[in-house]
């Protein structure tokens, strides 16, 4: 989609979104005879040909199982797989590749921490803090832990405008607080949590912190050492990489103190019926054959994002967010849900008198792909008193013209359904 207004974007005149779009084959597809306007990257992002080619190249030219096999292909694939881990390490500025555990997704990363760290180190009466704006993936594993161990779940509030206030979080810290599991960026509201200050507060209270970076890792630079996060999770498929692969960062001493969660091949040092000893991190948490091709795909995705520049991407997306806010606010009857000052390019909204599902259906007919519903955050919907929202989530390939298509689709929905 041509975008003649790109130069008005602050700090992003060098960012050539049209060239970026040519890297994504799917963006030239049409739906219902109309150009695809993909505003659902928050659910899963599209893939550039650099990722597709890296994965195909692996399967065509250099593939085998990893960490075993006394042959060339196995050694070469292991090298590529471990190189991908190093790319993730640098992407997060982790201290060592051993702090990078490959999981299936962020959900699996959080479940790993809840089941391993949680069951080993948390006791009945200990308090785990989550927030009202968590994805179900960062609620349910802790509820399951609470049921199994008697750990108490404490919920940090979100303001009416979707902002997150540290002072209200701080009030919840007690001498029983042992763990904080909180999103770095809300998948519904786009709200960024002031993570560095939050981690500091939690550490001062003696608690460990897990940040759910499923959205945050996509929309801006993440430095786990600067944040001083104990655990950080993100997923490849939202970062323009493949599905089936997530990442858990954990501080090395913590990971090595934690018992394995799943048993099997790859994670053991020695197995006998008298007992089994486990490898050090990260391998003790990677039972079974890992997602080899996907890890190589993630490595390529990180390479792609870094080449564009994470700050440049963030600036481009901020321009999209500002323009979307402006366009949507100018439409009578549109209510933005989540207007915190520090937001990633995720816009939830409602249209007065029209069910969000109907709005999304009309948008869909215009080729505009949005998500609708509770976005796996039902407690947040309850807190905000809404049945669900329509969500437009932007990625590095979206344009101002696509924001216009969204606004025009909403106008059309109002004409048809209002």
């Amino acid at each position: 989609m041509a975008d003649s207004r790109a130069p008005v974007l602050a700090n992003s005149t060098a960012y050539n979104v049209e060239a970026v779009r040519r890297d994504f084959p799917i963006l030239s597809e049409t739906v219902y005879g109309k150009p695809l306007v993909f505003l659902d990257s928050g659910a899963s992002a599209q893939k550039p040909r650099q990722v597709i080619e890296a994965m195909r190249d692996c399967m065509e030219h250099q593939y085998s199982n990893v960490h075993r096999g006394a042959h060339y292909m196995s050694a070469a694939t292991t090298d590529a797989f471990e190189t991908a881990r190093e790319r993730v390490q640098k992407f997060l500025n982790a201290g060592s590749p051993d702090e990078i555990v490959f999981t299936a997704n962020v959900t699996a990363a959080i479940n790993l921490v809840a089941n391993s760290f949680g069951r080993a180190f948390l006791r009945e009466g200990d308090e785990v803090i989550v927030s009202e704006m968590e994805h179900h993936a960062n609620i349910v594993p802790w509820q399951m832990l609470a049921e199994a161990t008697g750990v108490k779940l404490v919920v940090a509030p979100v303001e009416d405008d979707g902002s997150f206030r540290l002072e209200r979080f701080a009030e919840l810290l007690t001498d029983r607080t042992r763990f904080v599991a909180i999103t770095h960026c809300s998948n519904v509201l786009g709200t960024r949590v002031p993570a560095k200050e939050l981690v500091q507060l939690a550490h001062d209270a003696g608690a460990k912190v897990l940040l759910d970076g499923a959205q945050a890792a996509v929309h801006g630079p993440v430095d786990v050492r600067d944040l001083d996060a104990d655990f950080y999770g993100f997923t490849a498929h939202k970062l323009y990489g493949p599905t089936g692969l997530g990442v858990l960062y954990g501080k090395l001493d913590l990971l090595n103190a934690m018992p394995p969660w799943q048993g099997g091949g790859e994670m053991i040092e020695k197995v006998s019926f008298k007992g089994t000893t486990y490898k050090e991190a990260p391998h003790r948490f990677e039972a079974g054959t890992p997602a080899i091709v996907e890890a190589i795909g993630l490595g390529a995705a990180i390479g792609y994002v870094e080449e564009l520049g994470r700050d440049a991407i963030a600036a481009h997306e901020q321009g999209l967010l500002n323009y979307a806010n402006e366009r949507l606010r100018s439409i009578d009857g549109v209510r933005l849900i989540g207007t915190a000052a520090d937001k990633a390019a995720i816009v939830s909204f409602l249209v007065d008198g029209i069910h969000p599902y109907d709005v999304a259906a009309v948008l869909d007919r215009q080729g505009v792909a949005c998500r609708v519903g509770h976005h796996c955050a039902e407690p947040l919907m309850d807190r905000l008193g809404v049945i669900g929202t329509v969500r437009a989530s932007f990625g590095l390939y979206n344009t101002l013209a696509e924001v216009d298509a969204l606004a025009e689709g909403i106008e059309k929905a109002k004409r048809m359904l209002g």
């Binding site: 029209i354 969000p356 599902y357 259906a361 009309v362 869909d364 007919r365 048809m416």
Partner: protein, 140 residues
């Protein structure tokens, strides 16, 4: 009679070659559905059809060997689809409900309207067959 309702829906949808008009037709069905009684007290958890992006309630009765359905939804487009399905299925016998299959839903060509709707209709078909105590249609 219920077959006739189905025929009318199918023929009208087929005759409307403009997608916006097809959309408008479904919204008209939704408005017709709004005029039918569906008291708030029927909107219970038991009557809720789970797994929909908007809430759908379907109430089932059996009288003289025939099945009768009434339905409601919060979303207008879904409400139009609820009308199609409840009208189509009301007055049918066990056997007739069993015979209605996924191809009948496909014939409405809702996928051309929006793909989500066709998926939703399939789910509604199976849900109503289950309510009627009949085996749910399976995908070919």
């Amino acid at each position: 009679m219920a077959r006739e309702d189905y025929q009318e829906f199918a023929e009208t949808l087929e005759a409307l070659d403009d997608e916006d008009m097809r959309f408008e037709y479904i919204l008209d069905l939704a408005k017709a559905q709004d005029r039918e009684e569906f008291p708030e007290e029927w909107k219970t958890e038991d009557n809720l059809m789970h797994g929909c992006m908007s809430r759908v309630w379907i109430v089932h009765d059996r009288e003289g060997g025939r099945h009768y359905f009434r339905g409601a939804s919060e979303a207008a487009i879904v409400k139009g689809l609820v009308r199609m399905m409840t009208k189509t299925f009301s007055g049918l016998t066990d056997e007739e409900i069993r015979q209605f299959n996924v191809d009948d839903v496909r014939r409405l060509n809702l996928g051309a309207l929006t793909f989500q709707r066709q998926v939703g209709m399939m789910a509604m078909l199976k849900h109503m067959q289950k309510l009627a105590g009949q085996p749910a249609a399976t995908e070919a």
